[in-house]
């Protein structure tokens, strides 16, 4: 398994390079927006990947709540963190695209605003995990993930209705897409998905290592450095994840 990782990393790098070439050179130039439109090939796949990762977090959170599987909790953390990274990319590339094309940095349209709220919810999820000292943090975080998931449809719906009352330019445009552009879009999506899987895999290994270190630290304070139970350890033995 371990030797597979570098091979996949190289393959993914090649795929990303190919996708970049497709986006910058092969894809046809958009009629009205010009070459700036090519940001689309990075913006949209990042959004799809982020939403998929957040969905993985939701499923892992529910699995954890029901079956208390620690691996599910580890996966939840990983998916949330990498999801936030991809979501950040969406929120940065969106305004960079909007400015030259529509003259505005930001608009409270349905997609951008929902993405922003999702980002806020998951950043708060990560902050909760960072600031919570309890050994029950995974449970609390899982509960927050469920609340977030319940919230998102409401957010989307409320902004959608607001926009029907106060219409404004839609960033990212709607309507049908040229099949050649769709082809390039899908290639970039495949490349970024492979990249996301690799990053998650790497982050997951990091998470497992972190938990091993914490267990070893807990064991050491319980048993003392020589494997002998120490007097003070009996008083200060932490349960599970102690305050870091």
């Amino acid at each position: 398994m371990k030797r597979l990782f570098p091979i996949l990393a190289v393959l993914t790098a090649l795929l990303l390079t190919y996708a970049l070439y497709q986006a910058l050179v092969v894809a046809p130039t958009e009629r009205t927006m010009g070459d700036v439109q090519r940001i689309f090939y990075y913006h949209v796949p990042s959004a799809w990947t982020a939403f998929l990762l957040f969905f993985v977090n939701l499923v892992a959170s529910v699995v954890y709540l029901v079956w208390r599987n620690p691996k599910a909790d580890a996966l939840a953390v990983v998916a949330a963190e990498v999801g936030v990274i991809f979501c950040t990319v969406v929120l940065v590339t969106g305004p960079i695209w909007a400015r030259p094309v529509w003259g505005i940095w930001w608009t409270w349209d349905v997609r951008l605003t929902t993405t922003l709220v999702l980002w806020l919810i998951y950043v708060s999820y990560l902050v909760l995990r960072r600031f919570s000292d309890s050994s029950q943090t995974p449970k609390l975080a899982a509960v927050l993930a469920i609340f977030g998931a319940l919230d998102v449809p409401l957010v989307y719906f409320s902004i959608w209705f607001f926009r029907t009352q106060h219409p404004q330019p839609v960033i990212g445009g709607g309507g049908s897409i040229d099949p050649r552009m769709l082809h390039v879009l899908l290639i970039n999506w495949l490349a970024f998905s492979c990249f996301a899987v690799l990053v998650c895999w790497w982050r997951y290994r990091l998470e497992r290592l972190q938990r091993e270190v914490e267990e070893a630290q807990a064991l050491e304070s319980l048993l003392g450095p020589g494997g002998v139970p120490s007097q003070s350890a009996r008083v200060k033995a932490p349960l599970g994840r102690g305050p870091q």
């Binding site: 700036v36 940001i39 990042s46 990274i85 950040t88 940065v92 960079i96 094309v101 982050r203």
Partner: protein
């Protein structure tokens, strides 16, 4: 906005994307290093 100027935004977006990913991956490398060091200290 003319297309010569707006190309800058295209490059800015692509560079920003990879910058964000690079910063994140860099932070992972640093955390790995720190954890491996902690593991070594524990095994002593």
């Amino acid at each position: 906005m003319n297309s010569a100027n707006s190309i800058k935004f295209l490059y800015a977006a692509y560079i920003a994307t990879w910058l964000i990913h690079a910063l994140y991956l860099g932070s992972l490398v640093r955390r790995y290093g720190r954890l491996r060091q902690q593991m070594k200290d524990l095994r002593k």
